[in-house]
Symmetry: C2
Subunit: 216 residues, 2 copies
DNA sequence: GTCTATAAAAGGATAGAC
DNA sequence: GTCTATCCTTTTATAGAC
């Protein structure tokens, strides 16, 4: 597997790109859609090319082989997902408000169809593509955990919550909130939870957590 | 896909089986190992046969096609997993003890290599094989949730915990406990959590839950 | 870079002989 | 039921002409 790691420029505008770079971006975008829809083995390189135009030669020149293309689309999708999470600012806000804002953001991000499809894809290919699994984990769950953990750290320092491991609490809260919905969506048993279902889960989780860790 | 649904007799002893039934069981057992190791597309029917002996004709006669074989091994594995969960008796026990026993059992069952491999397999093939996804969900998580939910229902009736939706609480507790470990194992980033890691997660989760729902 | 053609291999499904 | 052989399709990967 020859990985061609030159995908750090997808945030530049189209006008900054050379024709080659635009082509490369177009291939990655088309391949990402196809992989998300059909899984690794469900995608043929012919299908990628027939969607984006051009020749398979170009594809092999840029990405080496199918695994190289796969690595490129995982990197791309992970950055897409992480962006909204990095915008969430929690430190300084009261407990209930911080937990509520976290819940809204994470429901939206983690249950988005593209996130779920990427999740399914990466789990399925974890053995074949361990690097992709690593990239995904460092992007989605780790970024999430860290954001909330920073808040808990601050909150225990200023006495809003009792002392306790902020990372542990962060994982427990986010998992309690999302894991059940996530699994049911991954299995195709639930399209997307309704707002009422989300609210019930959120309220119950926050209620337990408030009593569980708030300083009295 | 022709599904031949005759796999309700794997609990009978070997001596009760006809030669055909033994053969069928042997194929299912071998195929299960291979699918768990290599995923759906990673398994060839030749590989199944070369492991168990016999002819591909027999395989096609019993299972119709590859999808039929897949359905059979998922049913088989789900029943394997569920068995230890149905033995867990919680009603009547004090809160901390019930939560602790639940944690031990579910760590053992959900993080077992075969459970994780099945989980990965079923998620990967959820689109191709929705029935398998359904079977898996009804077996593993649903059985788990119900067991603990029954306890919470009883516990609120006798006044051990505050009133509240037992199903919701059950999901929140089990997800908080296992989701993080589960994901890291599925992605191949964690072999299996150490006893210390399990204890830390368990203690923190139980601590939050005790304060969160125990009647004062 | 693009288009068409093709080599090379794999794997699902089937058939004949026993 | 078993064993061997084979059809047929799909798909990765490469090559030649422009």
């Amino acid at each position: 597997m020859t990985v061609h790691d030159r995908d750090n420029n997808h945030l530049t505008t189209n006008s900054d790109m050379t024709a080659q770079e635009r082509k490369r971006e177009a291939i990655v975008a088309a391949a990402a859609d196809l992989f998300l829809d059909s899984g690794y083995s469900g995608v043929t390189l012919d299908a990628v090319i027939s969607r984006v135009g051009g020749s398979k030669r170009t594809l092999y020149a840029y990405f080496g082989d199918k695994d190289g293309l796969f690595a490129a689309i995982v990197n791309r999708l992970c950055e897409e997902i992480v962006t909204p999470l990095t915008r969430l600012v929690l430190v300084g806000r009261p407990l209930r408000e911080a937990l509520g804002a976290t819940a809204q953001t994470f429901f939206d991000v983690l249950l988005a169809p593209r996130t779920l499809a990427l999740h399914r894809l990466v789990v399925a290919e974890a053995t074949r593509a361990p690097e992709a699994a690593r990239t995904f984990f460092l992007a989605a769950p780790t970024t999430s955990y860290r954001c909330l953990a920073e808040y808990f750290k601050w909150a225990s320092e200023v006495g809003i919550v009792t002392p306790g491991d902020p990372q542990q609490r962060s994982r427990i809260f986010l998992d309690a909130l999302t894991a059940d919905f996530q699994l049911r969506c991954l299995l195709g048993l639930l399209d997307s939870p309704t707002q009422m279902e989300r609210d019930e889960r959120m309220n119950e989780t926050i209620a337990i957590f408030m009593k569980g860790i708030a300083a009295s």
